[in-house]
Symmetry: D2
Subunit: 337 residues, 4 copies
């Protein structure tokens, strides 16, 4: 089989290799991978391993859709032929994640665990979730990271309800799912971006109001669109000092889900409105398997279609990564024939 | 009757005055004030009004115990003679507080509303809560602000349970209630302070472990005492960049209640552990009337005795304020004969 | 002004009377009533007072839309001309309701409190909520009881999310709102009824699956439609021994909202599935003001239109009550010219 | 090794046998059993399998403490010598339990899974939890079923807080843990029983009030002791029509945990107070592993000592079962030398 792997840090060291198709052991399944979607994390892992030492060769990729090709002894959750998607942090089934205060767990595919940019994978059957019937493989491959992150923040943690206002920052992968999931629940959606063209597309996708942050004070614009109520739920996808602006924009008893770190790894913001409005601020790092199963049901029920910017063949991974660099509107997917 | 009032900002402008005893209108009650406890907020209001323009004469004081002296027409929640305490934000009965994103509500006694440093007060009967039977007036006067803040953070928002670990920063008024309330629920309590003598007293009050932040790295000490689990709930009473250290010390899926702002009004902290551990960070500005009623029941059931550093006579308010400046271990109370 | 009132129990004793237009006192507003919608409760109150002794003359009616005609002193929540709707249990703002274990509170309009079948009402301004902009008065009058009951069960208590399955029993007022609210949140909706014609209309309103309980075993049909998962949330609108069937049909960790009592005041059901599936069973008696405000926002955002079977003039109340007896599909509304 | 097993239904068919010590496979551990505590469920399983067909020989027993004697390949959660206790439903780690509406899961030790009345067991390492350091093996063996059931109801589901009132029905195994856990959280505890002698012992264990249900109307007594507030949380350990009395006794917005079924498998109760007081009624069938780990921490922190009526040797199982029949005050434990 073919697979992509690094033999050292840096995109130039990403090479296609071949390897024997692995065999599933007890409780494991062999998955024929059909599609992999790219995430910002993949870019960072390829560049420098995100600070963690990688053992080479290392295959990147965290998001996968495929089908069950063979079952190991006792693997009972699926049948051969079932369409499946991966889970990002495979040990996290429900409730609380693993790890402790000193060493939080980050045991994820394409990082501490091997990545998915290969024709075949062997994984324990508990690491997989049934794919939605209403999506093709390319679409389904976008759910385990970007899709679930938005769902986990808004629905599993945020218990969003119709009539609430969600503020989505930017138009990246999590942001677009945020728009769709919020609309699926009857919420008002406000999107900020620096690109008028992307804001037009966000509006076409369902955004109620859009704010060009280059031409408007976005906090004032949120006050305006909500008649000073503020945003009940903010997907904080920028980070850094932007958190302070989100605290200004959030409603009384609202919620800020900290997800993205584009403007730096150190968050900051004012304490007084944090005390008086008492929003919940909570970091979200993807989510657990049960929530992904819930999300799959919601997709099949409501016909949500992930936004894909473009699909590439397996051999075109370098072009796909280059497309990701350009800030696409929608996911970049690599498909395996 | 006698009352204390400012005729301009600054402690030197705080004077005792006399005024007629007010009469309760419809739905109101006349309260004979028996004790007032001081809070850091009173110090700040006297100094500069905390940024809000005061109309002079202005009476400070937010925390009061007394008894019902007369009833206005239709005031049915209490009888004459009932012992009562005040509520800090009188309109907040249960659920969500008032205000909006642009203008959060801060309609509190001794601020936007008149203060309690007077022999008599007239207030709507809904602004009062029955005092605990097991406390005297001086003790009861410490509950509406410092006591309720600790209760609201740990119990109403935090749903603390036995076996969890609470980290209390410092030994101020909220901190000492935090120790007592956490112990009342079977939690482990860790206290940090720069004073060994105060840590000894915290231990005598029930703290399980104490950390001198001048001689130990307190985050490492929390890891040590919890075998790396971290603190399930942190009362963040320092603020500023200390929040970053609290994020390091908090357990996976834990909670940080932001309450105090001693080290500055701008909070900051690292994003990566916030994402991976996913604690809830939530500001707490005292709490609602229903929670204060719950807290009163808990006090009578469990015999909690607020820690009082010293009691002063009504005429000795200046000495009481001076005592507050010295960082007492326990509340400073002004009693009215 | 005109009003309808009983001078004794029984529909024959319901007479139109005239009275002076009342004047609002301090904190009160005068409301010009535009529409009243009927509920099963009104039928029962007229028949026998539901067991509580009424003082005659007694005006029935609990659900009202109108506009503010005059303001009493200090009534600041509304301006003259604002369109408003009533709240069913006026003292219940947020959080927990009043009353105690021995004597639960049932202080509601058209029962313990005067009803709304009059041209004008005087009420405290806190008893009202702004009407949705997207509904006319007749539509808006259906929200405070039937609409809010469905919202409170599914959303405020039930935190419904897309992809979950809601089972709605019958096609009464609460049931139809349940279908619409569940669909607004992306849920699958199953409706049971004994009338094929009503099931067709339920399907047209958005129901995903319908079950004729005269021709099918509805529990088996729920298993079938959910592939044995069961219903995540059941609106128990029948009561009596039907609760036992709901316990059979509910999903693991699901929820049963007990609302209707058509088959008797004594509920019963099997304990073993209650233990093993551990659903929450919770009675719902309408809901609080904050939830009604949330619901109004959701209606304006999503264009929900209450189903009205027919509108009657104020003088035609007897015909309206007769129409209610026939089991309409949609609300019966009385409008005041 | 020795073990106890049935070769047919009925206590007369319970025989001690011998078998080879099993060997742990991959991911499994060998546990040397030190103590087994008896539950009502064991009595029923021995009598008739509780309706499920048993395959003989069948070993009963669901509650175990012991130590790790050997590790299978890859079993990394424990070291040899670690003291451990069992989990009742081993697959349930956190969050929601398995199974569906039609076929709820009841995959528990000493039922669908083999029992623990043997000198050695082999189980996956994920089925075990570290034993409390502060308890001996006999005490620790009482936690996985009776102890966790009370903890799960009151704390994991009930988020009990100081000052609330817990009503405990009877003095069985779950009841006594309920008293201790409620007191550990500062709650008021009311106990009902038909035995004055047992009520005296309940009071000595920490109950605040006791009610002899043969000589008092217990619902009225609850009203009396709570000044009509009612019980915030009721451990419903009787079942049948007693649920109706619990609905009468429960506080507004309280909680009834349905656990015991002594008075029959069909629950019943009045709908009107269920609607007006809106308590949560939820069945509890033991609980998940994460909650058992939390409970172990709480025990070590607070020194809770399970009440043991008497300890028997392994060969004295028949005498131990006979003691259980007599309605002991405290657990019956079988210890293995």
């Amino acid at each position: 089989m073919k697979l992509w792997a690094l033999n050292d840090y840096g995109r130039a060291n990403l090479r296609q290799r071949s390897a024997p198709i692995p065999e599933p052991g007890p409780g494991e399944v062999l998955v024929k991978v059909a599609a992999v979607s790219l995430n910002h994390r993949d870019i960072m892992m390829v560049a420098d391993g995100m600070g963690a030492p990688l053992s080479f060769p290392f295959s990147p990729g965290s998001d996968m859709a495929g089908s069950v090709a063979a079952l190991g002894e006792g693997a009972a959750r699926f049948s051969v032929g079932d369409r499946v998607i991966s889970t990002f942090m495979p040990g996290w089934i429900d409730g609380r994640t693993a790890g402790n205060a000193r060493t939080p767990s980050y045991r994820a595919l394409g990082g501490e665990l091997p990545g998915v940019l290969a024709e075949y994978l062997v994984v324990p059957d508990g690491w997989l979730v049934r794919a939605p019937q209403s999506l093709d493989d390319g679409e389904a491959s976008t759910l385990p990271v970007a899709g679930l992150t938005a769902w986990f923040a808004l629905i599993e943690r945020g218990t969003l309800r119709a009539g609430e206002t969600v503020l989505v920052q930017g138009t990246g992968g999590v942001a677009l799912f945020g728009i769709q999931i919020a609309r699926m629940h009857g919420a008002t959606v406000i999107v900020t971006s620096g690109s008028s063209e992307k804001l037009d597309r966000a509006k076409a996708l369902g955004a109620t109001y859009v704010i060009n942050r280059h031409t408007e004070d976005w906090v004032e614009a949120v006050y305006h669109h909500t008649r000073d109520h503020g945003a009940d739920h903010i997907l904080e996808l920028i980070g850094g000092a932007n958190l302070g602006r989100s605290i200004a924009a959030v409603a009384v008893a609202g919620r800020i889900s900290v997800i993205g770190l584009l403007e730096g790894l150190e968050l900051s913001g004012p304490a007084v409105p944090l005390l008086l409005k008492s929003p919940v601020i909570q970091g979200v790092a993807v989510g657990h398997r049960r929530a992904l199963e819930d999300f799959v049901l919601a997709i099949d029920r409501n016909g949500l279609k992930p936004v894909i910017q473009r699909r590439y063949g397996f051999d075109a991974l370098p072009e796909a990564l280059a497309a990701f660099d350009c800030g696409p509107f929608g996911k970049i997917v690599v498909e395996i024939a």
